[in-house]
Symmetry: C2
Subunit: 302 residues, 2 copies
């Protein structure tokens, strides 16, 4: 167990909220990005902690991904497989994990040259997939996701050493102001917020439905929002891609609109940032949530 004294990013076992300045770079590479990556996009990512690449995926590939999503949700409907998370009050498939292992289409998406190229650039290394999932927010009753930093969870529950991972969200439906788009606190990736609250065993079994542990205090959320001059909601057409830093505070409101929302979520982690032991003596989470075995270096599709 790592003691608090040695732990730069403490959480869960603390009595009061801890704010710590991020110690890692946001963009690890000092080189100019290759020609396929916009320098403006990298700069926006560095400053704000996220960037949107509108309509990066389009045409036939987008339609194939949408069809694959539809087929997988049908295939796993009513399944009790642990890689399936249902909406709290219904049988609707809300999340499916481990996409590349069940779908060639999603395997190839994770190795799309533009996506992989961006991840390798900002992490300045070879990368592997830490976690992948299909996030489906149904119309009329899609549930909210409360504010959190992914890194906080991955550090505590998965033993991810450093902020050297980048999340990629590929929009499979339009994300608009009505269907619970991703909300972010810009620039919050520069501050680590340690959270109060003991982590129960197998916390993931409830936290994937409603996150209650590992959530920042209202005061820290207000302070960081004020510092940023406000929130941003990330809207975009199907096929748009969002990259966001592992420590960016984000969440999303519920969806009462008739418009379902679906996104693919893939986390690229540096091969130099592979998982260690979780903090506080916690047991490692299952492989589908945090890869320790399936950690192949990704190669771009041709």
């Amino acid at each position: 167990m790592i003691s608090l004294a040695n732990e730069y990013y403490p959480s869960r076992n603390i009595r009061e909220t801890v704010l710590a300045r991020r110690r890692e770079p946001v963009v690890w590479s000092n080189k100019a990005p290759s020609s396929s990556i916009s320098k403006d996009a990298v700069n926006h990512y560095q400053k704000n902690g996220f960037v949107v690449l509108p309509n990066l995926i389009s045409g036939k590939l987008l339609r194939i991904l949408q069809q694959e999503m539809h087929d997988l949700r049908e295939q796993y409907k009513g399944s009790r497989d642990e890689i399936v998370i249902n909406e709290p009050d219904s049988n609707t498939v809300r999340t499916l994990f481990n996409l590349p292992s069940m779908s060639q289409v999603f395997d190839e998406l994770s190795r799309h040259p533009a996506l992989l190229g961006f991840a390798r650039h900002v992490l300045d290394s070879e990368v592997y997939l830490h976690q992948t999932r299909l996030n489906y927010k149904s119309g009329f009753d899609g549930k909210e996701f409360y504010w959190h930093s992914d890194f906080e969870t991955w550090h505590v529950e998965d033993g991810m050493p450093a902020m050297r991972a980048v999340s990629c969200s590929v929009l499979l439906t339009d994300n608009n102001e009505f269907n619970g788009p991703l909300l972010v606190i810009p620039e919050s990736h520069k501050t680590y917020v340690g959270c109060v609250g003991e982590t129960p065993d197998e916390n993931f079994k409830s936290s994937l439905k409603t996150q209650q542990i590992g959530t920042p205090s209202p005061e820290s959320l207000s302070m960081l929002t004020q510092k940023a001059g406000g929130l941003e909601s990330i809207k975009g057409a199907a096929g748009s891609v969002i990259f966001f830093d592992s420590n960016l505070l984000h969440g999303s409101a519920g969806n009462i609109s008739p418009f379902a929302r679906a996104n693919v979520f893939m986390v690229y982690n540096s091969v130099e940032n592979k998982l260690g032991s979780p903090l506080h003596g916690l047991k490692p989470r299952p492989e589908y949530l945090a890869h320790r075995q399936q950690v192949s270096t990704l190669t771009p599709i041709q």
Copy 2:
């Protein structure tokens, strides 16, 4: 009890969703509006079922209203008075009813010449207050309100005969895309949607927290949204005023943002549309929800 055969706007006791064409006018007056009321505003209201009057209230009056809201919420904190509704999971005051009887400031607001003038024009008669409330949606955990037509509830549970009432919402905080603004289906006021589901006794005790009875089917919501070409969210600065028709379908998402949202909600009803018996033998709801005794004709303040 009114039989279904004679009931033009049936609901609750039906087996399938009923869609009926609205039979009343939206704007009852045929005359040109007086000079203080914009003809464009009336036209927008007639066509879409709502209109926003930006920054109608400002300066000292706005600050007085905001202070009064703050004072009343403090005064009723922890109160078990029936006019107080708390958030489902906390002691936070979410709704306070019957504002004019507890506050001279809100009494005068309800008789503000611009507000009263608009209501009298669209209803083409003298008016009284059917219901008044302060709606407070807290930051971080403000709850959603699912889609509904107010008229559906007022018709079934209060015996309101006709669509001759107009709701007025005065924004006491900024309403933005993050803090659960009013969402509307434009033009839905022209269609009555009868809802499936028996009404339990004293339904208001739960429906004011989470509405489950009197909600339109997903299919009817999708159809009307498509017909309208989409939803609209009503955003505006504190002091802005929204008028919306009693039959307009509306709702609001939850609020995970740090920004609390507070609005005053006042329903003007025509004196020619006073309440009769509720449908299906239901008992009349309490006076603070649906005035039968306090029905004084409103006179403008000087």
